[in-house]
Amino acid sequence: MIIHPADISVMVAIFAATVALAIPLGKYIARVYAGEKTILDPLFNPLEKGIFRFIGVDPTREMNWKQHLVTLLTINVIWFPLTMFILMNQNWLPLNPDKIPGMSPDLAFHSTCSFITNCFQQHYSGETGMSYFSQLIIMFSLFFLTPAVTLAAMAVVFKALLEKATVKLGNFYNYYIKSITRILLPISILTAIAFLFSGIPMTFHGADTITTLQGAPSVIARGPLAAFESIKMLGLNGGGFFGANSAHPFENPTFFTNVIENIFHILLPIATVFALGFYLKQKKLAWMIFGVMTIGFLLLLTPAVYYELKGNPAIAQMGIDNSLGNMEGKETRFGVAASAFWSITATSSMNGAVNCMHDSFMPMAGGMQLLGIMVNSLYGGVGTGVMGFFIVIILAVFIGSLMIGRTGQFLGKKIGMREIKIAVIITLLHPFLSLTGTALTCSFPSLTLPTLNNPGSHGFSEMIYEYTSASSADGSGFEGLGDNTPWWNISCGIVILFGRFLPIIGAVAIAGLLAEKQHLADSAGTLKTDNPVFGLMVFSLIFIIAALAFFPALTVGPFAEHFSLH
């Protein structure tokens, strides 16, 4: 195989552009949550004031961590019946030019669980499963609101880590609304305009019927896509308007739109890491986190790109020109390198949007995607990435401090028994949910075997990918799986709910408990948490947890498939 310098430069260019944007954006995010002056004040201060007056909330009234969580859950609970209702009744609701039927109760349940949690795992295909009304009211709103929920929770954690001996941690509504008006909305508007002029449609007209050059009739599905795509990618939502998601030439028509969408995969996750550094004035800590995440990311990326560029040996044996690499499930305009790069950013960042079909990746490359959502903390989701990493840090501080005979201390707060208990439970939750779901599914072969699209180990990979993707709120899939059955809909829906809300509650609780404690000055013997040695500890901890929990499953799935041909 030949690796072209152009393939490498594509990846370097996208990554470098992301980091170059993420650092100033992180600084801006830190200023927004700290309530400092920003350039958008004259534009948005009046709007926010109006909203606060209308809903009757005083944004300066501070809440403790429990009140924050009750507010967070209340906002989500409202969306549950609303979303279910719209999805099941979209057939008679307005704006349905293509006569889409209402969803079945189990499909509506799964979709609702998946949408209100930012997971956006889809067991239906957009062209035939969702009316314009559903896309507009549910998808557009939740594309903004679900990342805003986790950004707001993250702001609570930031505040808790900064304060000492207090229960006052800011106002949840304030963080939540500002996440939308100050961060998500302005960037989405600018990007949507750039998308419009790159060929992404934005129309409320239904499908168009044309006659092709060869004379066959063809129905072309369209939609309000430019506005949809920008926030779909920025907020790491990842739910496609069409079945093919960002592989669809209307959702992602050119290499330029592909670069922008790919940057958004990891832009907010990286920016929030830097925001933590700016907010807490702990820049070295932020670089340590970014460094650990990036090393893990590169370790997933390298084998994935290698095996994809090398192509499918079974096709090479047929004697054709295999030099383009593994093109099954990939688009010509992106090529193999940019597709493989996208897939690893998508599975490291819990976005779940795809520009190529993961099911058709080479086994080892598919295994790296799977490992990305299994590890679940390399970049991670909007806000949830930082919060997840915070929990790992707490564990690493505890273990590291025990090694040098100290009690754990992070940012001047002593880590107690309750915090450790919560951290351990949350850390084990993700493997527990993904593996239990898969194990249960394997025990009822009559329900699930007919839904698999591929035989043998690859079929097993489809199953474990589905649950790991559900539990991590990634939402991508080995999409061959025929997942619109009551079993998949109900079991994945439940996994999604637990996998989303428990880690948020855990992170806010730990931070809230730490904020109540007195500040202790660091002594010479305190474990340093912002240097490479501690970074190595954190990395080892992530690796050991993932290895112990998931390597048996990886062996049965992708690894077995890989070695079956060699």
Binding site: A6, L213, E328, S461
Partner: protein, 188 residues
């Protein structure tokens, strides 16, 4: 209860208006000035619309450049890929069958010349492009069928092909529908 539920309900209503109504309306308004007025850019031949620039079409006749195989048969109202694993027996059998079909229709071409994109299905099933090599190996067939000079067809590919972004980002490719429209426009 009231302290949490009431503000959250009102907030939900406000945010639906902001995110689901005002935001898409603003972008839809700006779309009027965009190419194709935001309805998608169409391509025409002799004043008749024959397709969308970005949506690939199926070509089966020998006198046209063929697009890539599609798992959904170029159904632009139901996009998708095959989602077949790389070693699935039925997948490998279909690739083999595509190679054989191609060789039958292109007698002058040898197996080693067929680039892999011409025998594998895209992710969307609507891929509008093929690789330059994928277009070039079809020239012999089309030239014979249309009674054209092969060199003119190679020139046509060179004229229609799209360069990588900024000269180095992404693959070089050619839009099959544009190429076939240009082909129809060649002097008889």
């Amino acid at each position: 209860m009231k302290t949490y539920l009431l503000p959250s309900l009102k907030l939900t209503a406000v945010l639906i208006i902001l995110c689901s109504v005002l935001y898409p309306l603003l972008i839809a308004g700006i779309a009027k000035t965009a190419p194709g007025q935001g309805k998608g850019v169409t391509l025409s031949l002799n004043g008749k619309v024959v397709g969308y620039e970005n949506i690939g079409q199926k070509f089966t006749k020998d006198e046209y450049f063929w697009s890539r195989p599609s798992a959904v048969d170029y159904n632009a109202a139901g996009s998708g890929g095959s989602n077949k694993g790389p070693y699935a027996p039925d997948f490998l059998a279909s690739v083999k069958a595509r190679i054989d079909t191609f060789l039958v229709h292109n007698p002058g071409v040898t197996k080693e010349q067929i680039p892999v994109d011409l025998v594998t299905a895209s992710g969307s099933g609507l891929d509008p492009d093929i690789s330059i090599e994928g277009a070039r190996i079809q020239v012999q067939r089309i030239a014979r069928k249309r009674n054209k000079n092969e060199k003119d067809l190679f020139d046509l590919i060179d004229k229609t092909k799209e360069k990588p972004l900024l000269g180095f980002l992404g693959p070089e490719k050619v839009n099959v529908l544009k190429l076939n429209i240009a082909l129809e426009g060649l002097p008889k």
